[in-house]
C-alpha cells in the first residue's frame, strides 16, 4: 500500500504543481489552441484580410494527392530511421556487452554523436557526400557510382536517412547498453550452463528482457523522426530535389513560412499532432502487448 501524504493547507499542493501546469499551458496548450484556430482561417499573403472558412483548409489538404505523397514519404522515412537506428544500436550494444577490455572506451566513443547538434550532423554528412568535393562521393565514384543527391531523389532520401539514423544510434545505444547491463550476469551464466551459445542466449534471454526498453525507444525514435529531423533535412537537402525528402514537418514549415499559406500550414500541424498521438496510442495498444514488464 502506498502511504498517502496529507498536507494541512489546501493551497500547497496546487502551488507545487503550478509551475509545471503553467509551462504546459503557456508553451503547449496555448500555441496548440492558436494553431487549431488558425487552421480555420485563410489569410492573404500580405496579412490584410482574414476569412474564417471552417474546414476548407482541411478539405483542400485531404483531397491533395501531393499531401498524401508527403504522408507516405514521412512514414517511410520515420520507420526506416527508427528501424535502422534501433537495429544498429542493438548490434553495437550486443557487442559492447560481450567485450571486457576497453568496453568503457567503446561506450564513450559511441555516445559522442549524440552531443552533436542536428544541423552540424547534417552539415557533416552533406560535406562527406558532396557531389563535387565529398570524400565518400569520390570513393563511390571509384566504384563507378556517380552519387548526386542534388539530382537524384532516392539518393537524397538515403542521405537524410543515414544522417538522421547516425544521430540517433548513440541515444538508442546508451539505453540498450544500460538495459543489457541491468540483466543479472548469473542469468546469462545459467543459460550458458543450460547449453545456450552466445547467439541463442541473445535471442532467448537478453532480447526478451530488454524489450521494455526497446519499446520505449521505438516510440521515442518515431517521434524523433517525425519532428526532430527538421534540422538535418533543412541542411542536407532543404526538402529537395523536387520535394523528394520533404516530410510532413518540413512541408508545414515551407508551406507556412515560404509559401505564406498560414492557414494551410496550421491545418497540417494539427493533422500531424493528431497523427502522432494516434501513432503513439497504436504503439501502446498493439506493440506493448508483446512486452513483458514482469522482470
Amino acid at each position: 500500500m502506498l502511504k498517502r501524504v496529507h498536507f494541512r493547507s489546501s493551497w500547497l499542493p496546487y502551488a507545487l504543481v503550478a509551475p509545471q501546469i503553467l509551462v504546459t499551458l503557456v508553451f503547449f496548450m496555448w500555441p496548440a489552441g492558436q494553431s487549431i484556430y488558425q487552421s480555420f482561417l485563410i489569410e492573404d499573403a500580405f496579412g490584410f484580410s482574414t476569412e474564417f472558412v471552417w474546414f476548407e483548409n482541411y478539405t483542400y489538404l485531404l483531397t491533395d494527392s501531393l499531401y498524401f505523397d508527403t504522408v507516405f514519404r514521412t512514414l517511410f522515412f520515420s520507420f526506416s530511421v527508427a528501424f535502422l537506428s534501433l537495429s544498429i544500436a542493438l548490434l553495437l550494444a550486443g557487442f559492447v556487452d560481450r567485450i571486457i577490455r576497453g568496453a568503457m572506451f567503446y561506450r564513450t566513443m559511441l555516445i559522442w554523436p549524440y552531443a552533436v547538434a542536428p544541423v552540424i550532423a547534417g552539415a557533416l554528412w552533406v560535406f562527406m557526400f558532396d557531389p563535387t568535393l565529398g570524400i565518400l562521393t569520390a570513393m563511390l565514384d571509384s566504384f563507378g557510382w556517380h552519387w548526386n543527391h542534388r539530382l537524384n531523389g532516392g539518393e537524397a532520401m538515403a542521405l537524410v536517412i543515414i544522417a538522421a539514423t547516425w544521430k540517433q544510434i548513440s541515444y538508442n545505444f546508451l539505453f540498450l547498453v544500460a538495459a543489457m547491463q541491468a540483466i543479472p550476469k548469473s542469468l546469462i551464466e545459467a543459460a550458458a550452463l543450460d547449453g545456450a551459445g552466445p547467439l541463442r542466449r541473445f535471442r532467448t534471454i537478453i532480447f526478451p528482457l530488454i524489450m521494455p526498453t526497446g519499446f520505449f525507444l521505438l516510440v521515442v525514435n518515431v517521434v524523433y523522426a517525425f519532428f526532430e529531423t527538421f534540422g538535418i533535412i533543412h541542411v542536407v537537402t532543404g526538402g529537395g530535389p523536387a520535394k523528394a525528402t520533404e516530410i510532413l514537418v518540413y512541408k508545414a514549415y515551407s508551406d507556412g513560412f515560404i509559401g505564406l499559406d498560414l492557414g494551410g500550414s496550421a491545418a497540417q500541424s494539427t493533422i500531424l499532432m493528431i497523427g502522432v498521438v494516434l501513432l503513439t496510442v497504436i504503439q501502446f495498444r498493439y506493440v506493448e502487448r508483446q512486452v513483458d514488464y514482469s522482470s
Partner: protein
C-alpha cells in the same frame, strides 16, 4: 558414475592471488561442502569447475578427463545460483524446459521430464506461473528443479539458501540433503554458513584465504580441527582459543602451560612438538562444566549471559585476562543461570583440550 578432481588449481585476478594450489577429489555420488568466509575464493572455485571462470593454473578433471578448455555447456554440469537466476520472462515450465529444449529432446519427452521433476519438488501447481509470482522458497525449488531436470553428472550449489529466511533455510537444507541422497549425484556445495556445511556434507573442505585448511568428515573436523582457524570457524559458539606459554615441559608426563595466570596441564608428548614455547590451547564451550568442591581448574568471572532456553551461554573472563580480550565462552544447561559478576569454578577433561602451535596455528597431535 561421475568423479571430480582438482589438481593444483590456482586462480589469480591480475596480480592478486585468490586460490593457490587447491587439491581434492569428489567421489561418485558424494556431497562435498566448501565452507569459508566471504572472499576466501570458494565461489571462484565453484565457477572454475562450472567453466564460467578461466583457470589460472592446474587442472580440473571430470571422470579423469581434463576439462580446463571445455565449454560450460559441454561439461554436463548444473548449477543452482545464490539469486536463483530464473529466467524472469519464462514460466516455471519454460524455465525447466529451456535446457532440455537446447539438448534437442522431443516435446513429449520434455513434458514428461518436467512434470516428473515438478512432482518430485511439489511444483506441479506452479508450472504456469512466472518467477515474479513465486515466493522465495518456491523460486529456490524451481532453481533446484531446473538443475535436476537435466539429469546432469554434477550439481554445483553456490550458496543456494542464503537468500531465504532462517526457518525456510532449515527446511530447504533437509530437502536438499534428502534429494541429493536420493538422486546420488556428485555434488559440490559452497556456503559460508558452518551449520549448513556440517549438516549437508559427506566431507567438508574448509577454505581460508585461498588455501585449504582441512578436508574431512564433519565429525572429524569438529573433533580434531587441523588448525586454530578451523577450530574457531566450526562449532557454535566457537572454541575458546587461549595463547599460552610453556612453563615446564616434560616429554613423558605432563607439561604445564600458562595463560595470564591460568594453568593448563597437557600430555607431555604433544607440547614437545611445538616449534617454540608459544602454543595455543583450545577448549570448546560445551566441554566445560561447573565443578563441585575444590576440583576447579579455571575461574571464570561472568560478564554477560545469553539464555537460549535449552542452554545458557556465559561470556566471561578467566584469571587475569585483560578487559579487551575476546570473552571466554562457557555453555551451560538451560537451568543454570549464574549472576553477572559471579566467579564460576570450572573444570574439564584433559582429553577435551586442543593444542595448536603458537606460530603456525597447526594442530599438535598426541604422538
Amino acid at each position: 558414475m561421475t568423479t571430480l578432481a582438482l589438481n593444483n588449481v590456482s586462480k589469480s585476478y591480475d596480480a592478486e592471488n585468490v586460490l593457490s594450489d587447491v587439491n581434492f577429489e569428489v567421489a561418485d555420488g558424494e556431497m562435498i561442502v566448501i565452507v569459508g568466509p566471504s572472499g576466501c575464493g570458494k565461489s571462484s572455485l565453484l565457477r572454475m569447475v562450472a567453466g564460467l571462470e578461466p583457470i589460472t593454473a592446474g587442472e580440473v578433471l571430470i571422470n579423469g578427463q581434463v576439462v580446463n578448455k571445455v565449454e560450460p555447456k559441454d561439461r554436463d554440469i548444473a548449477m543452482v545460483f545464490q539469486n536463483y537466476a530464473l529466467y524472469p520472462h519464462m514460466t516455471v515450465f519454460a524455465n525447466m524446459a529451456y535446457g532440455l529444449k537446447l539438448r534437442g529432446l522431443s516435446v513429449d519427452a520434455i513434458k514428461k521430464r518436467v512434470t516428473e521433476t515438478a512432482l518430485l519438488l511439489g511444483l506441479e501447481n506452479l508450472l504456469e506461473r512466472k518467477p515474479a509470482a513465486l515466493s522465495g522458497g518456491q523460486r529456490q525449488r524451481v532453481a533446484m528443479g531446473r538443475a535436476i531436470v537435466r539429469k546432469p553428472a554434477i550439481f554445483l550449489f553456490d550458496e543456494p539458501l542464503s537468500n531465504l529466511d532462517a526457518k525456510l533455510r532449515v527446511r530447504m537444507r533437509l530437502e536438499i540433503k534428502a534429494l541429493q541422497q536420493r538422486l546420488g549425484v556428485t555434488s559440490l556445495y559452497v556456503t559460508h554458513d558452518q551449520v549448513e556445511a556440517m549438516t549437508l556434507a559427506d566431507r567438508l573442505i574448509i577454505l581460508n584465504d585461498g588455501a585449504i585448511e582441512q578436508i574431512d568428515t564433519p565429525m572429524k573436523v569438529y573433533q580434531r580441527p587441523a588448525s586454530t582457524y578451523v577450530a574457531g570457524f566450526i562449532g557454535t559458539p566457537p572454541m575458546n582459543l587461549l595463547k599460552c606459554r610453556v612453563v615446564s615441559s616434560n616429554k613423558n608426563e605432563v607439561s604445564v602451560v600458562h595463560h595470564e595466570g591460568a594453568t593448563f596441564r597437557l600430555p607431555g608428548g604433544r607440547v614437545a612438538k611445538a616449534s617454540s614455547d608459544e602454543v595455543t590451547v583450545g577448549i570448546r564451550p560445551d566441554h566445560l562444566v561447573i565443578s563441585e568442591g575444590n576440583q576447579a581448574k579455571l575461574q571464570c568471572a561472568v560478564q554477560a549471559i545469553e539464555t537460549l532456553g535449552s542452554e545458557t551461554l556465559v561470556h566471561g573472563r578467566i584469571a587475569e585476562t585483560p578487559e579487551d580480550s575476546a570473552p571466554f565462552i562457557v555453555k551451560l544447561d538451560g537451568n543454570t543461570l549464574p549472576r553477572i559478576g559471579e566467579v564460576l569454578p570450572l573444570s574439564y577433561e584433559m582429553d577435551a583440550l586442543h593444542l595448536f602451535d603458537g606460530n603456525t596455528g597447526l594442530r599438535l597431535a598426541s604422538s
